[in-house]
């Protein structure tokens, strides 16, 4: 048997070199056992990226198995392919997924975020789906004030937003929604979770398997350069001061090239020339070759001399580990090579036949006649070590919170000015959110609503996670993330279909962090079961730490739902003066983990609200039934900032600024508790006044508490939100609230420099 050679200037394999690759002595033993010999430098590099957490999920796999992944609509399950695929009826399906680019964005925010978008879009069209829209979930340190770290946070925030805009706008995909939070916990380690959804017919589902012995393997797309070397391994380490030196591990994106690649691949997938297709994302050529071979139960041999390159003198190690963007690997049906060549010529894209599918199960890498690596593909792709990490529960806060009272007339504007609650128009105005002519509900409502014309289907999508709750109680926080996502969809008139998640946590070697991961996963799994929304895939991002410690656990949920009829599309803002304003759900009194405590009293503490799934589901079903009967003019869920913020937003987040007259009567609650508690399972709706009584009877009959809060008041420059309760009344001018809420982020960003 021939042994792969080492080409100069490959270094000797020493314990130091092994350690630098993040490979433990045990893992090195395992590698030697698989190979039956010592690896050379290229092979060591290949193992290091494939066995990184980013590619192998070696720390999280046992936890991920707890997710429900099956259901009648699931056409492609989580983990089978690049993205899960869900049936939406009439022969159509959607592929969607969320992925993180946290570490690259911390080092180089513009390119880090841009390439995150590029990567997730490739995951979707690799499935044969035409991408139709994007969402994102972003988290940064505080952007208010003048401290040097705040300036850095603003720079990261601005860079990430323009990076996402750069890539999404250029490629022509609308970015139609998402969430942005600001909290000290993300200082130096922002979270950039990007989501893409694509549409396809059932029979168009493409597979990433190297099928058919003797089939040629094509490399298409951008040339390989030295950018993004070993990015997957970089993403699987904690960020430190020295991380800045890892900037070469951040890739550079070219959305124009990706647009061409997208069109060319979709055109090619309409032919019968493709046996398998796989994007080159994390771990680039390495991952795409060994994963396609492993899925196909075959082997793949490639010749690096044939790979289109951007630079001269690249070593096999560099070519195999490069994470240059906008590249794909295509397994072509033998004899149909010309079809591939013609299409890629048409789109002016580099393409090359670089290898062949064989039957020996090996991933064999040649440099001309010289073999430089030979590894059993399946063991490399699927037999990374699995670790069951130690867990240690973090002590839960049980002390009751002593509530400092506050001057209520100021508290509401202060909450509305908090960048996490304030309007995100500064962000979404920079994203083209209308291209593809399908955005039925503009950003800023409870969920994004998009009509997919080719399928004649209306989808709603949202992304949610309240990480304060998760930091105080990761299980309950994760349960609430699912409940809130489902609630946002219900408020838009949608029935939830499925979930993608992005698990952002700290270093899993620290038992407390791993406990948070486990609790969160179990919480998400409970939620997914309760709402019949299987997890179709997602991403795990560990090692999110800064010198102050791990980030608050942030299991971001992306949920997609279907709106059966155009007339069911519902938005969050009031529509007409005189309409009755109702609360579905309890008034509530849970203040733990609330934004009121955080923003007004600078405290992240207490027991976060509890969610009762049965109650929550009943609420959603009841709301949807009212929507279907045509009774609901607006619906807005109560989340951060409670009823006070929800009522203010309902007045002012639409095209007209309405007032509202609210009277709670006697509640016996302190005003800050009444207005700002964050008890779950609550929705503020407006209905025609003459229907209010019937709606309340209907809701109560269904078992959902309902109460009349007041009425919508004429939209005029003087319109006011007045809230009376327990003998007191507060009045806010809506124009002033709107100014505060709408301009808060721009004020931080534009006037600070």
């Amino acid at each position: 048997m021939k042994t792969p050679v080492s080409l100069p200037p490959d270094p000797e394999i020493t314990p130091a070199v092994i350690a630098k690759h993040g490979i433990t002595p045990d893992e090195y033993e395992r590698i030697q056992k698989i190979l039956g010999r010592k690896p050379n430098f290229t092979e060591l590099g290949i193992f290091s990226v494939m066995w990184s957490e980013h590619c192998s999920y070696k720390n999280s796999k046992p936890e991920l198995r707890k997710f429900p992944t099956t259901g009648e609509g699931v056409l492609v399950k989580a983990g089978e392919e690049n993205a899960g695929v869900i049936d939406i009826g009439d022969g159509w399906a959607v592929a969607f997924k969320m992925e993180s680019h946290n570490h690259p964005s911390a080092i180089e925010p513009f390119q880090g975020a841009a390439t995150g978008v590029g990567g997730i879009i490739r995951d979707i069209f690799t499935m044969g789906a035409r991408p139709v829209f994007n969402l994102n979930s972003l988290r940064f340190g505080s952007i208010t004030g003048d401290a040097p770290n705040v300036k850095t946070n603003r720079r990261l925030f601005a860079g990430v937003v323009s990076g996402i805009a750069h890539y999404g706008n250029c490629i022509g995909l609308p970015t139609i929604g998402g969430e942005v939070y600001f909290d000290e916990t993300y200082e130096g380690n922002p979270l950039v979770n990007v989501f893409c959804l694509g549409v396809l017919k059932h029979e168009q589902i493409a597979r990433g398997a190297a099928k058919g012995i003797g089939n040629p393997v094509f490399y298409v797309g951008a040339e390989t350069g030295r950018d993004g070397l070993a990015g997957a391994a970089f993403a699987s380490r904690e960020l430190t001061e020295e991380s800045k030196q890892d900037r070469p591990a951040v890739q550079v994106g070219d959305p124009f090239k990706e647009k061409l690649l997208l069109e060319a691949c979709l055109e090619l997938l309409e032919t019968d020339a493709v046996a398998g297709i796989q994007d080159m994302g994390a771990a680039g050529l390495t991952c795409s070759t060994c994963e396609t071979a492993s899925r196909g139960g075959t082997g793949v041999e490639i010749d690096l001399n044939k790979v289109p390159k951007r630079e001269v003198g690249m070593t096999p190690y560099e070519v195999m580990l490069s994470e240059s963007q906008e590249r794909m690997l295509i397994i072509v049906e033998k004899g149909k090579e010309q079809i591939v060549k013609d299409i890629f010529e048409k789109w002016d894209l580099p393409h090359a036949e670089v290898g062949v599918v064989n039957d020996d199960g090996m991933m064999r890498v040649m440099a001309g006649d010289v073999m430089v690596a030979e590894i059993p593909a399946r063991q490399l792709a699927d037999e990374a070590p699995i670790y069951n990490r130690e867990v240690q529960a973090k002590a839960r806060p049980i002390a009751p919170i002593w509530l400092l009272s506050t001057y209520i007339p100021d508290a509401l504007p202060r909450l509305l000015a908090d960048p996490s609650i304030a309007s995100k128009n500064w962000v979404y105005r920079q994203y083209d959110h209308m291209v593809r002519d399908g955005t039925m509900v503009l950003p800023g409502s409870d969920s994004a609503v998009f009509i997919i014309r080719e399928a004649n289907k209306i989808l709603a999508a949202t992304s949610d996670c309240n990480a304060i709750y998760c930091s105080l109680d990761p299980r309950e926080g994760a349960r609430i993330a699912i409940a809130e996502a489902a609630r946002n969809l219900a408020c838009s008139g949608a029935v939830p279909l499925a979930v993608t998640d992005n698990l952002n946590f700290g270093n899993p070697h620290k038992p407390e962090n791993f406990w948070q991961l486990r609790e969160s996963v179990e919480g998400l799994a409970e939620g997914c079961r309760a709402f019949d929304t299987p997890v179709t895939g997602g991403n795990v991002s560990l090692y999110n730490e800064n010198p102050a410690g791990a980030i608050d656990p942030t299991p971001t949920v992306g949920m997609v739902g279907l709106i059966e009829d155009e007339s069911h599309v519902t938005t969050s803002f009031f529509k007409k003066a005189g309409d009755a304003i109702l609360l579905l759900g309890e008034i509530g009194d849970e203040m733990g983990g609330s934004h009121y405590l955080k923003v007004i009293h600078h405290r992240k503490e207490g027991v976060p609200p509890r969610v009762d799934f049965a109650k929550e589901r009943l609420l959603h079903d009841t709301l949807r039934s009212l929507i279907r009967q045509g009774l609901v003019k607006s619906a807005h869920d109560c989340s951060e900032g409670g009823l006070g913020v929800a009522l203010a937003e309902s007045c002012m987040c639409g095209p007209k600024k309405f007032g509202a007259e609210i009277n709670f009567g006697t509640t016996g609650l302190a005003p800050e508790v009444l207005l700002f508690n964050e008890t779950q399972s609550r929705i503020v709706i407006s209905v025609p006044s003459e229907q209010a009584a019937a709606v309340m009877v209907g809701a109560k009959t269904a078992g959902v508490p309902a109460r009349l809060l007041g009425f919508v008041v004429d939209a005029s420059p003087e319109a006011a939100l007045t809230i009376a309760a327990d003998g007191a009344e507060v009045r806010w001018e809506v124009a002033a609230l709107h100014k505060t809420w709408y301009g808060a982020i721009a004020e931080c960003m534009e006037s600070a420099e």
Binding site: A165, F256, K346, R429, D432, M434, D437, T439
Partner: protein, 234 residues
């Protein structure tokens, strides 16, 4: 009646324009590839929005050298009805089919939002279905839509009533406050001296259905139909 939507590499509003023309207005519409060299047989040619060639140089600066642009120029010079939307407008100024230039928005940000436009002149194939002073609600989405021209050009545009739409507020008031991008005199769209070539930054094809928030873009497509109908009778 037949329409052509030119596809440059990086065009991304091509499908939306095709949808508005073919599905909303029932006009037979073809895509024409940028490497083609002929556009014979079309009554309307659309240069759609997007990022032709990635707009990595100046917007539209490379697209003007695409093989199809020779045919497009001939078509326009022979009086053919040509409309450039967003990136298409940029291609038209780069090709000198329209005067002036489009530079970075003054905020330096890409801006996507609904905007009001005041119709300035209706004696042209693009707005004959409207009346001067009408306010249209049509979205914009661009990073480089700040129209600029030298004084002589501006004087000529004004004298010939080539400024067809300006950014305004809901009441039709044109002011700096209603200018999203710093555009000279709030210019959102202009036509050429012979009034057969129209370039505008806003996207009428995104305002062609009530469910998308506005139908005001239809005024433009309807006007073109009116115009072609008239000339067909003549």
């Amino acid at each position: 009646m037949k329409a052509a939507v030119i596809r440059f590499p990086g065009s991304n509003c091509d499908q939306d324009c095709h949808y508005a023309l073919q599905d909303v207005f029932g006009i037979e519409t073809d895509y024409v590839w940028h490497k083609d060299t002929s556009i014979k047989g079309y009554d309307l040619v659309v240069l759609p929005g997007g990022f032709s060639y990635g707009d990595y140089l100046r917007c539209g600066a490379i697209a003007r050298f695409s093989p199809i642009m020779k045919a497009v120029t001939d078509y326009a010079q022979n009086g053919g009805i040509l409309i450039g939307i967003c990136n298409g407008f940029q291609v038209l100024t780069e090709s000198r089919l329209l005067p002036g230039a489009l530079v970075r928005n003054r905020s330096l940000h890409f801006i996507c939002e609904h905007r009001f436009l005041r119709v300035e002149a209706t004696d042209n194939p693009f707005l004959n279905a409207s009346t001067p002073g009408t306010v249209l609600n049509i979205p914009i989405a661009h990073g480089e839509g700040n129209y600029t021209a030298d004084e002589a050009t501006l004087a000529e545009l004004t004298a010939n009533r080539q400024i067809l739409v300006r950014y305004c507020d809901a009441d039709g008031c044109v002011s700096d406050a209603s200018n999203p991008n710093g555009s000279l005199q709030n210019i959102a769209g202009i036509c050429n001296a012979t009034r057969n070539v129209f370039g505008l930054m806003p996207h009428p094809e995104r305002a062609c259905e009530e469910r998308l928030g506005s139908e005001d873009g239809n005024i433009i497509f309807q006007s073109i139909l009116n115009h072609l109908g008239v000339s067909a009778v003549a």
